[in-house]
Symmetry: C2
């Protein structure tokens, strides 16, 4: 489509000839290409988009039907352990979720709730008794379930949930209870309509005292779909999007469950009420539990990336067909993607989507290796924490990219982009919540920065400022400062050149290290006598977020380079090197205020960056169609009316 639609008004491309789209797609498909092809083969022949005039109930029923269809393919078994019928393929399970996100986002979330969150929690936090009893029914969707962590009063600070699970020694049961209105479990997927059981996160209480947050399996509906005694279920109602998913609310009025309802891998209660755990520290225990659930964030990042690619495919293809305004020396009206500002809307975003796609592949590989490696050495623990940091950072950066880019794509299609028949409204509405679910992006970036400051030496999962300060020791500051200083010198000796990939990386790496080193110095002051630790910490909050963002940006660029290193096709590599340059320089351009403030760019270098972004946009313009074709999205999933009309 890109070649036939190339504008007659377009001057000859400076780059090489047409790229091999097949080779491009094979590179993007990556390690789990076969999973991608399976999903394409199963669902790629159909347009799955919901009827926009369905009632909420109709949409939910449709989505549940699709989820059952998925279960029947057996693909839901990918992420579960082999001993209970799974396939031990964590990377494959995440990749299959990413593929669903191209097809239908309600389906992706419904599947993610059932098999990722609910099933994943039973797998990761439970033990044999739970696996044996439930995993097969979870995989087959015979037991639809919920992941009931967030409460009305606590979303980001989940360590402070108010629901209690008190052990009654005499009865040998736990009593699950919502003591206050704000203890209500809220926004829970699968709760309003389908869920039969919930993994409920609650403060565990035994006669000896409180042991922090643990998860228990609590039946919420009987086989006839009626709420269980003591469980009040209500409906979150209509949402901005994802209306195929039945989000609801759960309130527990002293609901009794047997002792083995406790998912007891990280903490157990004996019949006599005595508590035991392999992890002594309560905070550390909770964040270890949460860490096992990292797959959810990785999946959201990947799904946001997929949805963004779909939006870009629609907008770029439309931009190659749509003409508006005549111009001197041009035949007919100008193809809108020939306008510089239209290129600037879409092409840096497209380059960023490429970068994030390659980085996501690296993240999924790391998740897969970490979770299937199974070592328990100190190195493995640090690797797990690094993984959590990267997952948090990638989730934040990718979902914000989705929100921004899908909006831009909508606008780039004008009034047509506002019509549901052109897919963009659904993509926009469905992805909007990604920036805040599975962890609010702003909170996640703070976790990233804290991980970096402490070099992942311990869990710093909550926002307690004093705890933070304790970690920012002299030693950490010294280490970071030393590293920074060495690289800073290398940086100053390098001649800047807008088209030099090494310069791009050194700019991003230097920014990351400088922001981190200066942040460490600022925060250390919070530990001084008489300092108001919160005030010091709060005043540095924008600095902290910037440091985290700079870290993710540099890591994503490295992911792009890893993708390039895998590329065997010269034409594809040459094209992707331009895409990489556009990604890197558009980041530098967006933050050129900072680069000048910190003497990393002179005024004239900064202007040169802008000019180079413009040049790269023009050079990539003839390849824009091929670049979106390379995503390999089945055409029925991109069946927008504006791409059908002539």
């Amino acid at each position: 489509m890109s070649s036939t639609a190339t504008a007659p008004t377009e001057p000859p491309a400076e780059s090489s000839g047409p790229v091999d789209t097949g080779a491009l797609r094979a590179l993007l498909d990556g390690r789990w290409a076969s999973v991608r092809d399976d999903v394409r083969a199963q669902l790629g022949g159909r347009r799955l988009h919901p009827d926009p005039d369905w009632s909420t109930e109709e949409h939910r029923a449709y989505t549940t039907g699709l989820a059952r269809e998925l279960a029947d393919t057996g693909r839901a078994t990918l992420g579960f352990t082999g001993e209970h019928g799974g396939e031990d393929d964590i990377g494959g399970s995440v990749t299959s979720i990413e593929m669903l996100a191209y097809a239908d986002l309600s389906l992706m979330v419904k599947a993610g709730v059932q098999w990722g969150l609910f099933g994943g929690a039973v797998q990761a936090l439970g033990t044999d008794v739970h696996h044996h009893r439930y995993l097969r029914d979870i995989m087959s969707f015979a037991l639809p379930g919920c992941f009931a962590m967030t409460e009305t009063g606590h979303g980001s600070n989940v360590g402070a949930v108010e629901t209690t699970a008190s052990y009654d020694v005499a009865a040998g049961e736990f009593v699950v209870h919502s003591p206050t209105p704000s203890a209500r479990k809220d926004y829970i997927g699968n709760a309003a309509r389908d869920g039969r059981m919930a993994v409920v996160f609650a403060q565990l209480i035994t006669p000896a005292g409180r042991h922090g947050v643990h998860a228990l399996l609590v039946p919420i509906r009987d086989v006839d779909g009626r709420p269980c005694p003591g469980v009040t279920i209500s409906d979150c109602g209509r949402k901005a999007g994802l209306n195929g998913v039945d989000n609801g609310r759960l309130v527990f009025d002293s609901v009794r469950v047997p002792r083995d309802a406790l998912l007891n891998r990280y903490g157990d209660v004996a019949e006599d009420g005595s508590y035991s755990s392999p992890i002594e520290n309560q905070n550390r225990r909770f964040f270890t539990m949460l860490g096992t659930l990292v797959r959810g964030r990785v999946s959201v990042a990947g799904s946001a990336a997929s949805a963004t690619q779909s939006a870009l495919a629609v907008a770029v293809r439309y931009g190659l067909r749509r003409r508006q305004f005549e111009a001197p020396g041009r035949d007919g009206e100008v193809v809108v993607l020939d306008y510089l500002v239209h290129q600037r809307k879409l092409l840096p975003a497209l380059a960023t989507s490429y970068a994030l796609h390659f980085a996501q592949e690296e993240l999924v590989v790391r998740l897969h290796e970490t979770q299937t490696g199974g070592s328990s050495s100190d190195g493995a623990e640090t690797a797990q924490r690094e993984l959590e940091g990267l997952a948090a950072g990638m989730k934040a950066v990718t979902t914000w990219h989705a929100t921004h880019t899908i909006q831009v794509c909508r606008e780039a299609c004008g009034g047509a982009g506002y019509l549901t028949e052109n897919l963009l409204p659904q993509l926009k509405a469905d992805t909007d919540v990604f920036t805040t679910f599975e962890g609010d992006n702003t909170v996640l970036l703070q976790l990233v920065a804290k991980g970096l400051l402490t070099e992942y030496r311990d869990y710093v999962g909550d926002l307690n400022a004093l705890e933070m300060v304790r970690f920012v020791t002299e030693q950490v500051v010294a280490t970071i400062a030393e590293r920074t200083s060495a690289r800073g010198i290398a940086q100053r000796f390098r001649d800047p050149a807008p088209d030099d990939p090494a310069w791009h990386r050194s700019l991003l790496a230097d920014r990351e290290e400088h922001l981190l080193a200066t942040l460490a110095r600022r925060l250390r002051r919070a530990g001084a006598d008489g300092a108001d630790a919160f005030a010091v910490f709060n005043a540095a909050q924008d600095h902290l977020l910037h440091a985290a963002r700079a870290h993710v940006d540099r890591w994503v660029l490295d992911g792009f380079d890893a993708g390039l290193a895998r590329c065997a096709d010269d034409g594809v590599r040459a094209l992707l090197e331009q895409v990489r340059a556009l990604y890197a320089l558009s980041l530098v351009e967006a933050d050129r205020g900072w680069f000048q403030e910190h003497d990393r760019l002179t005024a004239s270098q900064s202007k040169a960056v802008i000019a180079t972004v413009n040049t790269l946009c023009g050079q990539l313009r003839p390849h824009a169609g091929a670049l979106v074709d390379g995503f390999g999205i089945p055409e029925p999933w991109l069946d927008a009316a504006i791409l059908r009309e002539t």
Copy 2:
């Protein structure tokens, strides 16, 4: 609400005590305060938000019902001339539309289509015969109508619409026809369900030839609601938002209308087929016609501003109630608006909403004076063009502010912000199209820049690059350059001071003039022999948009100052001076890359700007509740569930 919800964790405010919210609101209500109070009195006691699970038809019926209710109040007569039952109050009519935008955006658009676009076109482009025949029925909603300008193939370039209106001398009739699929009228409000008549924009053809685009009144449905012979009506279907408005498509198959169907104020066809017009030049004639319809853009700007204020009111109030994470030295969890990054999300946006509100008041006054002044001198013509430029610029800047800010407000409310019961999804979905309807923002900003370059000496309504270049004469360049140079010197002699209002203005004014002068010099090169005018123009397109934006930003700041000058309450003025500083400095901060590149800010001044924005956020934090209360939005319209729960 703001005072009771102020956090116990909050350090004492540096500013003075509580502000007089009544005085603040009176200042914001401005010249048409009585219209605002009328709408509040009529509709302010009710929650008007649609049921989110309504079908499209149910929502449309509801909105039409509300529009009829409005018509019955007689307020629709505000914008029409007195001789036919109107009230000659243009400013009042725009203000009433802005008020509807707080209440229900589908209703606002439905009213805007009927009385602003359809009625406004009959009023402005028609003559006595049309006024006498139709205006009363339009005002009473007895005759629901459409404004059929945009076609599937032409939205921004409306001068190139393909629909034809050919005069048949023998029959004394016009034949209205859609010659191609892309000539289909598209996205037409009131077309899919209610419209009985349409103002159709078409290329007028007489035996002597073509005369450019003119508007005709074409019946599209009979009294029983059946499409008229030759008229094919279809439905645009579900949209991202505004589903109370029935957007549709119209195709004409040689539809005959009498000669007096032509709205003939600017061009007429005599019985014998001879054409006459008070304006010789075809292009100029068309843009004069379009210019009379400027009210639509002013209304969209104002409505976007209202919706943004509603979103800010919800998010700020929630930010004052919501607590998350404990902090050392604080009782309980921290109120989220105490976090710097939460302040940074909401408070600069709130300051910008204040700035835009005052600027909108200036724009409405200017519209009112221009359209009720009635002079036809050269000065009046330049004033009209300046008004069009300002309306275009304000529409672009205000609607982008809305899209950005409502998104941020959604995210600032987390998962709750995604639920329809909390209003933000509807606000977001409904306003999303504002950035592209009534003129695509990117195209509008180009019109602004062209107006500035030509000093509004002639119409440059389309994007023809050569025509543009013709206007960028030596003289214009010299004038702009001279002015810039004088101000530039003044600027360089001024000591920068982050808290000096004069410094803020000089930064913005200097940026505007520098961008414009350098743009003029760049574009002049396009006129050189052998130059590819389109290429030169296109390469400067980002520069052009930046210049336009800089102009609007400076103009908005002047609007803020005009509002301050009207302020009689010392406490309110002191608070608003801080708000103004935050508005101005957040603009400077966002563009500090440019200010450094052009030697307007040193690196350390640039850092000081960031620090001052942070300081101002902290200083305004205790007044955030009062600032949103000042908008005077009736509480039932802000009835979000998250603000009800305890």
